[in-house]
């Protein structure tokens, strides 16, 4: 049925394109203040339908042929406010435009990209610029727009399952993705253990996902960069928007404080409806799920050349369920998981002239996850707390030439990590304990040049040098057999301990990170791109669970834990159809990562001052092919993509079989899912309705199953040997969303729209895990599914202008 709709809409489109009379629309574009003609301004007609366009010549003149009827005209040029109008063509028409070059001049310079077709003309490979408006139309679980789940509809982005606390991009682990919100890092991108994402959807302006060629200005993570920017507040008008759904309630207010100069955006979201779950079923008695997040952004245009932006973000979660384990060795009747994120950023933008500008940013980010165990009879809460504080100052200079864009910058970051602290409060039994605090500094300096070498060839050359220092106060052990290449970190092997004072450098690492990209245009509409990246990561998560818990331990590199180094080679072929309606891309990549961390059997990282005794270093390789076809314009838009991707790890840290995984052979990573197919369709039915479908299919992830059973102490236990030898059943799911806009069909200041969503439309019980449990004297296999039935939900969104 969908296919028929597809063909029908295509047919209609092409039908309307033929059999028409063409008239000429022409005119001159001038600067409104100086009256000078604007050279090479882009004049675009009907950007939302068939998008024809041209550039003005040296006299600012343009001429376009088009058919009779209503058309939307947009005129753009760097340094000017874009001009938009709707005109009615009944014959040859003249349209002269005067472009003002005042007020938002600076914003345009920062935001505009070269030309309106990113796919073919940008040399950067593997970057996806995601439109937040498109995301808001996609079906979302439980009615809440979820960026992390929607990202999984893109090629190369997968996760271990529905309750995953992050995504895996091109074979990287979840902590290898640098997730930035207005330049501040987000360490845990989900609420409620993977069910929702932490980004306030009403405040997000744009999303850039760099999974191939990562620009040199980003560093610190090995796999990818997800750069989310919040939008700037409107400096002229007061706007209010928000919504309510079954799960959460949202409100966003933006208002100018000084009209045209200072504006404030505040956006908040809260989910406190878990009491309804307890009313609904006794089985859900033990579930507590509350979260809230809020962002505030202040934009101050000091003058034509200077702006200051300040952003603050706060998020809080409380989650209780018996599906997450409790803290061992603390006698508790229930366990709660809480996390808190507080980020802040101040940025000063200074334009020396329209070509040269300087941006300086200072930011702070703090992430505090906690496990709260409630003791019996006293109801005292014992708290296990971790805290990660990142403070960073960075500055970059951008120089825009005719055919080049040069950027140089420096950045300095300080990390203060408290890996674990046990706070007994009023407990009679539990003692206070803490792990030594880790201090570290990461410095980076980079230069990047994007240039059009010729008509066909564009090159992006970047080089970043990063340096990492692990600082005292700290105690570093020395182990025997170090220097033999296969250091064995075991408590029985300790030779010596060295003490470092505050500020002393205990160990340091550093290296170059070349970022190269090349685009060669094969024609007007197609190009091939090649890329090579090297990225270094000094801060990582150490965990031995299938997916990291929000409370999993973070660790900076030190004398025994080396930074992860990842190299990515990628190549791709890109093709845009005429009028940029269709976009086809095919990319292959190969990634190799050194010094990945895996864990010994029975590893325990909680409050462990020497985690190197629980870890095994290894290496990883990942490769894949991503094919995507997208339709970007028209009533039916969307994409289909297929990915074949493999990720394999190898750990052979020693000769003893306790120091090898699967005997030192390559084994499948936890998130190795060879085939994925995603289809996302959005159908705009006029101005009042839109329908959206998401279909997602992927091979099941690997799991470890027993090779048989053993009889021990009167019970039959499963006997496990090699890891990840089996696969879960395949995963597939269909979601549906229906957006109803402005049902009263009147133009008013207050606009509302409803969204009806069904997640998992045909109710497939996708298996999240298969596990064996020993009960009584026998061992039985079970499978766990998270969303086992279709989940409908209704959301109301409103906007007040």
């Amino acid at each position: 049925m969908l296919r028929f709709l597809f063909i029908l809409l295509f047919g209609l489109n092409s039908l309307s394109a033929s059999a028409q009379i063409l008239y000429t629309l022409s005119g001159t574009i001038r600067d409104s203040t100086s009256n000078q003609p604007v050279v090479r301004a882009a004049v675009v007609l009907d950007y939302d339908k068939s998008a024809t366009g041209t550039y003005t010549d040296e006299q600012g003149r343009y001429s376009i042929k088009t058919r009779m009827g209503q058309h939307i005209v947009v005129v753009r040029s760097i340094g000017f406010v874009p001009f938009r109008t709707t005109i009615s063509i009944r014959g040859n028409t003249t349209l002269d435009v005067r472009l003002p070059s005042v007020a938002s001049q600076l914003e345009e310079v920062v935001v505009t990209s070269k030309g309106y077709d990113r796919n073919v003309r940008q040399p950067l490979l593997g970057v996806s610029q995601i439109n937040i408006a498109t995301l808001k139309k996609m079906p979302a679980a439980l009615g809440e727009v979820d960026i992390m789940r929607s990202l999984q509809m893109l090629p190369g982005v997968t996760s271990v399952g529905e309750a995953a606390n992050g995504v895996n991009i091109r074979g990287g682990t979840t902590d290898q993705n640098l997730i930035l919100m207005d330049d501040t890092p987000i360490f845990n991108p989900t609420h409620m253990f993977g069910l929702f994402s932490v980004f306030p959807p009403d405040a997000v302006g744009g999303l850039d996902l760099y999974k191939g060629n990562v620009p040199a200005r980003y560093g610190g993570r090995a796999a990818s960069v997800l750069d989310i920017s919040l939008r700037n507040p409107d400096l002229n008008e007061f706007k209010l928007s928000g919504g309510a759904s079954l799960v959460a309630n949202r409100l966003t207010v933006e208002t100018p404080i000084i009209k045209g100069k200072l504006g404030l955006l505040v956006s908040g979201r809260g989910a406190f409806n878990d009491f309804l779950l307890r009313l609904a079923s006794k089985r859900l008695d033990d579930i507590r799920a509350k979260f809230g997040d809020g962002a505030a952004k202040l934009f101050w245009r000091i003058d034509d050349r200077n702006t200051v932006t300040a952003m603050g973000y706060f998020s809080q979660d409380l989650f209780q369920t018996n599906l997450l384990g409790s803290l061992a060795n603390v006698n508790a009747i229930n366990t709660q998981y809480a996390q808190q994120t507080a980020n802040g950023m101040v940025r000063w933008f200074h334009a020396f002239n329209p070509r040269l500008n300087l941006q300086t940013t200072a930011l702070v980010a703090q992430y505090i996850p906690r496990i709260l165990s409630t003791e019996d009879s006293t109801f005292n809460k014992v708290v296990l707390k971790q805290s990660l504080l990142q403070r960073q100052v960075k500055s970059n200079l951008n120089y825009q030439l005719d055919n080049q864009k040069i950027e140089i910058g420096i950045s300095g970051t300080h990390y203060r990590l408290n890996p674990g602290e046990l706070i007994p409060n009023n407990s009679l039994a539990v003692n206070y304990q803490r792990t030594p605090i880790e201090n570290a500094m990461e410095l980076g300096i980079y230069a990047e040049d994007e240039m059009s070498v010729s008509e066909k060839l564009a090159v992006s050359v970047g080089l970043r040098y990063s340096h990492f220092l692990s600082l005292g106060p700290s105690v570093v052990r020395r182990y025997g057999s170090e220097g033999t290449g296969g250091a064995v970190y075991d408590i029985t092997n300790v030779v010596d301990s060295v003490r470092y004072g505050a500020g002393q450098v205990a160990s340091q690492y550093g290296g170059f990170e070349p970022r190269l990209g090349l685009r060669y245009a094969l024609g007007d509409n197609s190009s091939i791109k090649l890329g090579y990246n090297l990225m270094r990561q000094y801060l990582q998560v150490i965990t031995n669970t299938t997916t990291p818990l929000p409370t999993s331990r973070w660790k900076t590199s030190d004398a025994h834990i080396q930074p992860q180094v990842s190299q990515l080679w990628s190549a791709g072929y890109f093709h845009n159809s005429k009028n940029n309606i269709f976009e086809l891309s095919a990319e292959v990549y190969w990634r190799s990562t050194q010094h990945i961390l895996d864990y010994k059997p029975g590893a325990d990282f909680l409050l462990q001052p020497y985690p190197e005794t629980q870890l095994l270093p290894g290496r990883s390789k990942a490769y894949g092919l991503e094919i995507m076809m997208a339709k970007k314009k028209g009533e039916l838009t969307g994409w289909v993509n297929y990915t074949y991707a493999r990720t394999l790890n190898q750990v052979a840290a020693g000769v003893d079989f306790q120091q090898q995984i699967n005997g030192g052979d390559w084994y499948k990573a936890n998130y190795d899912r060879p085939h994925s197919l995603n289809i996302s369709l959005n159908i705009n039915q006029g101005r009042h309705h839109s329908f959206s479908f998401n279909f997602s299919y992927s091979t099941g992830r690997p799991y470890t199953a027993p090779e048989g059973f053993i009889r021990y102490q009167g019970r039959t236990y499963p006997y496990y040997d090699e890891r990840n030898q089996y696969r879960l059943p395949d995963y597939h799911r269909l979601d549906f969303a229906w957006n109803i806009y402005n049902p009263s069909m009147k133009n008013r200041r207050w606009q509302g729209h409803w969204t009806f969503t069904v997640y998992n439309l045909y109710g497939r019980r996708n298996v999240y895990s298969i596990f064996y449990r020993t009960e009584g004297q026998a061992t039985n296999p079970y499978r766990l599914s998270i969303f086992a039935a279709p989940i409908p939900s209704l959301t109301y969104n409103f906007e007040f202008k």
């Binding site: 009679l428 539990v430 449990r773 296999p781 599914s785």
Partner: protein
């Protein structure tokens, strides 16, 4: 409207756990060693078995290993040999006493000559703290694994003790309970006989065909079931019908149940503290009758604790959102010639203390497990416990005017009572602490 949608949401959100058909073709073939010796004056047993999967069906079988030569080496000096009592069970001499602070190592060689040795385990060098007290609380949702897939009521037993601050302690709890048993024997296709039985075959052409006559002979004692013999063909008794009779106990008799779960604790966060309210045992609510519970608190070595914790994590603590993927359960015994061979199981030395508690079950409510069958509570005394063990109500041998399936001539006072045969799970001796 909102509540309706929330209900729909709730139904979908509740994660589903379904059983899966056992699918795997096993390839396991390992030696399993079970030997935890302690400092109490009770028999110290080391068990060996081989768990091996049949290469064709994939089913795993467990065979006890006989004929091995086992010895325990004390302080690397004295080697004490064990003798095999039953198949696969090797016992240390009855005068052996484990002593705290001493080092023990297991060495054995199989019948085919392969030699194995364990690491040295030092019995924790401090006495395990005594259990100050035990408190019991009835909990309808006590049992972690429901009996028969649905029954969860039981009594939670909480221990209180003072953790010694001088050492890093690792604990494990086991329990055993004695329940009063009234039914001592079940005979399938036969009857219980106190004295010996003589059988004589009668060949006959009549319609009932051939048959046996059974006579009790008072000179010898049998004290066992006597199975009915199948007469040769052309008999109304061929084939034998299926029947079973249950016999009550002649003397006092107690049934013993043991714990199976692993309950361990590490004092890493609570060193030196007063540990209260730690759930050490979950006693199923078998019957409304009181029972005697013995909770054994043992202090393990750090390696043994790590081993049991690993077993617990990968076999009992599974099914969550963020499980630790399981790994090989290799213990501390290795093949002297081939270090790569995986041997499962642990040899260790632990210090034990125990406390007995009279669980009167007066605070219990609802249906006991013994009364949860389709027939509810049976009329006969002791039928609750009978149901727990056999999942049916007891069926006594019929008395006149009813005729039992197998008739014994010259037998007095039928049905007889049965002997309470002592075993691992039964004893005729009143356990210390039992209150009548």
């Amino acid at each position: 409207m909102r509540l309706f949608l929330t209900l729909l949401l709730a139904v979908g959100l509740v994660s589903c756990v379904d059983p899966v058909d056992g699918i795997l073709l096993g390839t396991v073939d390992v030696l399993v060693v079970d030997g935890i010796i302690n400092n109490l004056p009770e028999p110290q047993v080391i068990r060996l078995n081989r768990s091996k999967s049949d290469p064709f069906t994939g089913q795993t079988g467990f065979t006890p290993i006989t004929g091995a030569t086992i010895e325990v080496v004390v302080d690397s000096a004295e080697a004490i040999p064990c003798h095999e009592t039953t198949e696969g069970n090797y016992q240390l001499p009855s005068d052996f006493k484990g002593k705290i602070g001493h080092a023990y190592q297991l060495r054995f060689s199989l019948a085919d000559g392969t030699r194995y040795a364990s690491t040295q385990q030092i019995m924790p060098a401090y006495p395990v703290p005594a259990i100050n007290k035990l408190t019991a609380r009835f909990n309808p949702k006590s049992l972690r694994t429901p009996l028969d897939g649905f029954y969860t009521a039981g009594h939670d037993l909480f221990v209180e003790f003072k953790d010694p601050v001088e050492a890093h302690n690792y604990y494990r709890w086991d329990w055993k309970i004695w329940e009063k048993q009234q039914w001592c024997r079940t005979c399938q296709q036969g009857v219980y006989a106190v004295y010996g039985i003589r059988d004589s075959l009668v060949l006959s052409n009549a319609s009932r065909g051939n048959y046996y006559i059974y006579t009790e002979d008072r000179s010898t004692r049998l004290e066992d079931c006597y199975r009915e013999l199948t007469p040769p063909a052309f008999s109304y008794r061929t084939p034998l019908p299926n029947y079973a009779y249950d016999y009550m106990c002649r003397t006092n008799c107690w049934e013993i149940f043991y714990s199976h779960d692993i309950t361990v604790f590490d004092d890493v966060y609570t060193n030196g503290g007063l540990i209260t309210g730690l759930k050490a045992a979950q006693i199923p609510f078998y019957t409304y009758n009181p029972c005697l519970v013995e909770v054994r608190q043992s202090s393990l070595t750090v390696d043994a604790y790590g081993y049991f914790k690993a077993i617990q994590d990968q076999t009992e603590r599974t099914g969550g959102l963020a499980d630790t993927p399981p790994s090989v359960l290799a213990g501390n015994v290795h093949n002297v010639a081939n270090r790569k061979e995986v041997v499962v199981g642990f040899f260790s030395a632990s210090v034990l203390t125990s406390l007995r508690y009279w669980l009167d079950r007066k605070d219990a409510s609802g249906v006991s497990f013994g009364g949860s069958g389709p027939a509810g509570y049976g009329g006969d005394v002791g039928s609750e416990l009978f149901y727990v063990l056999n999942r049916r109500q007891p069926a006594m041998e019929p008395t006149p005017p009813a005729i039992p399936q197998m008739v014994i001539q010259n037998s007095l006072n039928r049905p007889p009572t049965a002997f309470c045969l002592p075993s691992d799970t039964r004893t005729p001796n009143k356990p210390e602490g039992w209150r009548d």
